[in-house]
Symmetry: C2
Subunit: 243 residues, 2 copies
DNA sequence: CGCAAGTTTGAGGGATCTCAAACAAAGTGG
DNA sequence: CCACTTTGTTTGAGATCCCTCAAACTTGCG
């Protein structure tokens, strides 16, 4: 039994725009089905072309690129509500891999209908562009962090981002949110070595700023993290469209 | 006297898609005018909102973000044909600054007409999305480089990318292309210090792999650079739309 | 019990950073 | 035409951040 778009649990969240009935109706028809994958599955592989687009209904994963000698850059963590595969919608090969780190449920959309979407539903097309542009914006923020911050700041910054993302998605319960990743994933996301990540993270957790155990993250001293991370403003959680 | 879109010199380049007459006609009407700015001018400032979009007709510049303590990440170099400001088209503040490093000529488009563009010209809207998605793709490549490669590989990789970009735009003349930047810009783009950039670059130039002097880049040993940079395939120069 | 995956620790080396100063080229004003 | 400033490049040296290697430890599982 697949989820009905009109009844999508994600859509109730305050972070997501209210779609019009027309939009909702279209998205429902656009949706080809649902895909369930198990933790550990690779959803998309670098170099291949996917005929589908996905929206994450539930579960988490990660997006990464690899170099020839096994070095790996985690581009971003994949959370519920994320839209995956715009690249293939536009007729390009995927240049990154996507892997599930928990069981996931995904809404499936056929890539070959994207073009007609632009003709028939401009507002949805607009949202699609919005999502792509926002993605780009976040990537540039990550790049700035990886390029300029040093390990301590980086980790504080990363924890903060994950926490705020999780909070906006209602994933925080009893002061904790799920974070089903390994330290290796975090290190590869920040561009530092596993060992250095481990040691530097402990310098922060020993101060009681946060805790990451058993796949769950808890933040205790958010203000101190902000200070360490050198971010001024609070979280930037614009409303965004859900496709 | 402004350039007529039907007569745009960029559009003759092989990298750019052929636009249909309808598209061209629309873009011409969409274009509000041309902007000339001098080298050193800041076109867009972080935190502000721009009412315009731009396409670079000629000249070069750079896109960057700053931290509070003056650290700066150069996100990318701005070349002719680049489309600037999708963010503001979608009603967001700019989160990065853009600065001209040479005199530049830009085509100006009003941001508030973007929405109607989606309704009236879906193919142009599609191209817009394509550009945004491609931009994201390149950013993730840059992120991978900055996060995983070490200085020598990084520099080889960066030179290679600039060279291939320049070549696709027909900027290479007599074995040299314009590269009007400072070593500080390059260092900030790669996330390494100016001093380290200087020393590491000389290790490569001393081997005769390339040369960067007087704002011009020359590549002598492209295969060796490829090897150092750990890139396998040749240049990826898909055709792309010009807006 | 033994294996696999992940975390933690220690130690030494190398890459990169910062500080500082010298050097080069170009522009300015007297 | 010559100080003098400004901007950018180059070099040296010491400090530190970060990496790699290696091993111990921990946990879950067959």
């Amino acid at each position: 039994m697949t989820t009905d778009c009109t009844d999508c649990p994600l859509r109730r969240l305050a972070v997501f725009d209210n779609a019009t009935d027309t939009e909702l109706d279209f998205i429902q028809r656009f949706k080809a089905g649902e895909l369930q994958i198990e933790a550990g599955t690779t959803l998309m592989v670098e170099g291949e072309r996917s005929a589908h687009l996905y929206t994450v209904l539930s579960g988490m994963g990660l997006r990464y690129k690899t170099l020839h000698d096994r070095r790996r850059q985690v581009i971003n963590f994949v959370f519920p509500g994320d839209f995956i595969g715009i690249q293939s919608a536009l007729g390009r090969d995927m240049t990154q891999s996507i892997e599930a780190t928990t069981d996931m449920t995904l809404c499936v959309f056929p890539a070959d209908r994207v073009w007609s979407l632009f003709k028939s539903h401009p507002s949805v097309a607009f949202n699609l562009t919005w999502v792509a542009a926002t993605e780009e914006h976040f990537l540039s923020e990550i790049l700035t962090a990886v390029g300029q911050r040093k390990a301590t700041e980086l980790i504080a910054w990363g924890v903060l981002r994950l926490w705020e993302r999780g909070a906006s998605l209602g994933l925080v319960e009893n002061g904790a949110m799920p974070l089903p990743y390994r330290q290796r994933d975090a290190a590869d996301a920040l561009g530092i070595s596993l060992v250095h990540f481990n040691k530097t993270m402990h310098k922060l957790t020993d101060q009681g700023l946060f805790e990451w155990r058993d796949d769950r993250l808890r933040v205790y001293e958010i203000d101190k993290l902000r200070e360490l991370a050198m971010v001024c403003g609070g979280p930037l959680l614009d409303k965004r469209p859900l496709i």
